[in-house]
Symmetry: C2
Subunit: 319 residues, 2 copies
């Protein structure tokens, strides 16, 4: 079967709205702003070789939905770019598109177009453009204020531990839990929407590069300094167990990335409102620190001492 | 210099509107429809190895602008996805982004975001998403009518001959002309806009896969049959010369692709209006045939005899 046949067989059935079939897709909207993002995933770089096609479809899509969520907007749809080696099978197409279909339904989003092309080597590359519309303002990284509290959703570090599990660097009974967290992020669409609608967040970002590095992005854009308390960082019980036995994994947890949780900042007056919202939508939200004057990201241990990390990208801690 | 440094040095200066820097870009618009497309170009598949980075930037962008033009819409901006090998140099970044800058200015479009990532082999892959807004309807492939005339813009086949020139299959004094046509398509934005605004076109497509195959896309979507006269197909004087000496190149010219001219259909009553519009905007527009009942694409020679092509993708001609 050639590429056109695969597209006809597997992609067109995803297009309930007949948006595919012209040179570009047309989407009617009554909102006045477009929010749009593009994230590329490369086999062997962003995901493992021989990845389960269904999980791969979902992760590629969800990292883009997470970007839209971090702007405080509901995703509307996406364009799918697939760069595929010659040896892609019917089974791969079937499973990959079934993953898309499940997530289209779960997140109520539409595939509205894209491009599929052949790679001249054996890697799968997935380039998705996701977008949403709004008549609200969107959340940015640049409006955090000195004195704001810093919050994160969910737990931190499980996905980074999942990558270690896939690489056989850790090996215990919790590995399948961690691997699942690496494979299947959960974009925090409702949380992003609500903290935007209720004007709660002064800034927001999703954690793709690692908690510290992504907080650093907020600090750089907003000209503020972050103070983070290790003890406050929310960890799964599985991560706590493994960290207890392997304290050196703390750096992986804080810098490993792939969490796709939200970090946002908010004036202290909103603290109760945030707790209420968190219980209302059933998403754990934890205050992990506060912003001060400066431009560093300071990490404190349980003795209130600054911790320095050696990992590349964070050399400024050792100044 | 690492990827972040290149982006800061070369991509950020292209962003006059401070649209880059968050997880997604926000674009205000007062129009009610979004027109959006994604085209991927892979080194060694869609462009030659060691391509001039400036021309590569322009071609990657222009094939996307051509898609928006074929919908009858003015492009607004684009997201840039770059998947790059490790050996990309400062010189490459400089030239590639200077190409983008020139075309941003020429077509009055904005770079509004994107993603840059590392490839795990030596190919350059460019994945661009371009879009525009409108409160008009957009042109499609599916509303052509029996009796409509078929028109094409510009000349056909120069780009396909350019590819033959690059491959040293043809070699004469016109080769640099043809190569330039392959490297630098000219998206027909004004023409697309006007035939849409004036309600002249019943359908439209841009020629990326080859004149015959793209007309076939209109036929399949609109349930019509196309009748094309070889003698009417507009050729450059350079193409005429080479075709005179090498009549076997006719198939390349009609099926080779990469023209990025528009094919559109229109009721015969609009013929004079189309001629006027063509002279007004200085873009050659030529009637090459008409639509009838059926679903084939018939090509006629100067003796009004059907011509059959053997090229893969057109086997139905030999029925």
């Amino acid at each position: 079967m050639n590429e056109f046949s695969y597209i006809k067989k597997y992609i067109h059935p995803l297009d309930h709205n007949s948006l595919i079939g012209n040179d570009a897709a047309q989407i009617a909207n009554l909102q006045d702003k477009l929010i749009i993002t593009k994230d590329i995933l490369v086999e062997g770089v962003h995901f493992l070789d021989n990845n389960d096609p269904k999980l791969l479809a979902k992760k590629s899509l969800r990292v883009n939905l997470s970007d839209i969520a971090s702007m405080g907007i509901k995703p509307y749809g996406y364009l799918l770019g697939l760069i595929l080696p010659n040896n892609i099978t019917n089974k791969w197409w079937k499973e990959f598109t079934s993953g898309l279909k499940e997530d289209n339904d779960q997140f109520n989003i539409k595939l509205i177009g894209g491009d599929t092309t052949q790679n001249n080597n054996n890697s799968i590359i997935i380039s998705i453009t996701a977008f949403g519309f709004t008549n609200n303002t969107s959340l940015t990284r640049s409006k955090a204020n000195v004195g704001d509290y810093i919050y994160v959703s969910g737990n931190i570090g499980d996905a980074a531990l999942g990558l270690l599990a896939y690489r056989n660097i850790i090996n215990n009974k919790h590995c399948s839990y961690f691997k699942n967290k690496f494979d299947l992020p959960n974009p925090r669409i409702n949380l992003g929407l609500l903290i935007n609608d209720y004007n709660i967040a002064s800034s927001c970002i999703d954690i793709s590069d690692g908690l510290i590095q992504d907080i650093e992005h907020i600090c750089q854009s907003s000209y503020v300094e972050a103070n983070i308390y290790i003890d406050k960082i929310p960890l799964s019980k599985e991560a706590k167990i493994i960290l207890n036995n392997n304290p050196q994994l703390l750096e992986t947890i804080l810098t490993g990335g792939d969490d796709y949780e939200l970090v946002f900042t908010s004036h202290p007056k909103n603290h109760i409102k945030i707790k209420d919202l968190s219980s209302k939508i059933g998403v754990k939200v934890t205050q992990v620190g506060y912003l001060s004057i400066g431009n560093n990201v300071n990490i404190y241990n349980h003795n209130n001492q600054k911790i320095l990390f050696t990992k590349k990208g964070f050399q400024h801690f050792s100044n």
